[in-house]
């Protein structure tokens, strides 16, 4: 964001373009710009630097005041990982397992993606990298059955956390969303309160469709947090503002690479700084 000497029409246009370029969307951009224009009219902002500070503040306020911690007090606690195809669910589970183990927790994984080629094999590698057990069935098995068996094993073996990997699915496929609801029902039936966390994994390169995805998954199974992946690339991930604001869903973690340690806590201040 190159700041000139005065706040004029072209300066505000540049600001709007910077916001749009970050994928915040036209609605959020217009919201933010309206705030800035009103303050400017009331003479509360007299320099581009002040406008920039106010802009950061407005964006920051959309993101804060959300619970970013994981609620894992139950034994075992279940984390259900969901999202559309290719966003980074399986990889995120591998990273999350490493982090939770680092906190002294006993972790088990459930390969409930029984559809995609080599999905269980992929999760198994992440299990091996962590030295933790992975419950899996044959390809084509019922995902609910995997979830059931994994939860039974997690209870029997005194696990602290069970992380359930699911197949990527487009939110527009109602039969696949029903399948996901069924997996969740099975977990809840076998352990009241499960899944304690339902993480929606979202690719940071995603544009405005992200909102429809988050909304549909949230309405179907109740999302407790978002993992925003691939932020080590060039996208800014501006889609999270509308998701935070209108759906009240907090970003809990960000994915910043393909390695086992490439998972960071979401830091709203850092995120807003990087956006601009």
């Amino acid at each position: 964001l190159v700041l000139g000497e005065k706040i004029d029409e072209s300066f505000l246009e540049e600001l709007e373009e910077a916001l749009i370029a970050s994928d915040v969307g036209t609605k959020t951009a217009s919201l933010v710009l309206t705030d800035l224009k009103e303050r400017f009219k009331r003479n509360e902002l007299s320099s581009p630097a002040q406008v920039r500070e106010r802009l950061k503040q407005v964006l920051f306020e959309i993101l804060t005041d959300r619970s970013a911690a994981l609620s894992l007090s139950a034994t075992p606690s279940v984390i259900l990982v969901v999202g559309v195809n290719g966003t980074g669910k399986t990889t995120t589970i591998g990273k999350l397992a490493r982090r939770l183990q680092g906190e002294g927790k006993k972790v088990m994984l459930a390969a409930a993606d029984t559809f995609r080629a080599a999905a269980a094999e992929q999760l198994t590698v992440w299990g091996e990298r962590n030295g933790i057990p992975v419950v899996k069935h044959k390809e084509g098995a019922d995902p609910g059955a995997v979830a059931f068996d994994a939860l039974a094993a997690a209870k029997a073996r005194g696990m602290d956390v069970l992380i359930v990997d699911t197949a990527g699915r487009l939110h527009t496929k109602s039969n696949l969303m029903e399948e996901l609801k069924k997996v969740q029902r099975i977990l809840a039936r076998e352990l009241p309160g499960a899944p304690q966390e339902t993480l929606f994994v979202l690719d940071a390169t995603t544009g405005q469709n992200a909102f429809a995805q988050a909304k549909t998954f949230h309405q179907a199974i109740g999302v407790t947090g978002i993992v925003l992946t691939k932020l080590d690339g060039t996208p800014k991930g501006g889609i999270v503002f509308a998701i935070n604001k209108e759906l009240n869903l907090p970003v809990k973690f960000i994915g910043v690479g393909e390695g086992i340690d490439d998972l960071k806590d979401f830091d709203p201040k850092e995120f807003v700084e990087a956006l601009l």
Binding site: G86, A117, H171, G207, Q208, N209, A210, T234
Partner: protein, 291 residues
Amino acid sequence: ALTGKLESVFKKLRGRGVLKEDDVKEALREVRLALLEADVNFKVVKEFIGKVQERAVGQDILTSLTPGQQVIKVVHDELVGLLGGKQSKLHLSPNPPTVIMMVGLQGSGKTTTAGKLAKNFKKDGRKVLLVPADTRRPAAIEQLKTLARQVGVDAFASESRDPVAICRDAKAWAERSLYDVVILDTAGRLQIDELLMEELRQIKAGVKPQEVLFVADAMTGQEAVNIAEAFNREIGFDGVVLTKLDGDARGGAALSVKAVTGKPVKFTGMGEKLDALEPFFPDRMASRILG
């Protein structure tokens, strides 16, 4: 939808004969919003709106259309022109094997698309070799081998962990064993990863593919322009496959990629199953982007 919005903009135009500049400008503000909401890159939108403005102003209002419909027609036709144009077929080599190389960001659908292409070629009676050259992602080789089994084609087996060597050896093997088509599946990578982009360059130099296909997710946002431009500049591709169009993403990335690289979308991924690959229809895409 957009038609409705433009209708209200043009309500006051009843009885006038020509599309005036101010009216067109106001209508195009709505079109701009629609395109941005469809994830078309804002720079591409700016340029596009400028072109449409020139074409629309001063046009006689056709008696068969309302002014709103007429502006949409200009917009739609301009979009189709931008998205279509060049021949978007795959180039099969007169001297087999034809080598096709899949490239793109992580998770865009390269491996699945490689399987879909293999299935298509097999249906046409071609002898296909799938080459798993992603030695990085856990079980990636296993994933492509599974797809090869499902389609009923061969997967190249290699002891090497070097993608450049794997691809070179695969092509040599395909030439000796008289394959018609070789499809190279590469690891997903960031366009800003210099080492990995260099790896792609070396693979390309080593096998000289007839077709390099850039596989892009239809839900990609504003960054589609930068990503595609970098892949085209650093590696060079011949066509684009836009995947996951079976969702409800508007797919503005299609316009962004075409506008900035000039390379055509050749196929669309319409599902997870191996028969879900369709040719690209510019007019359907234009309607989808406009919403």
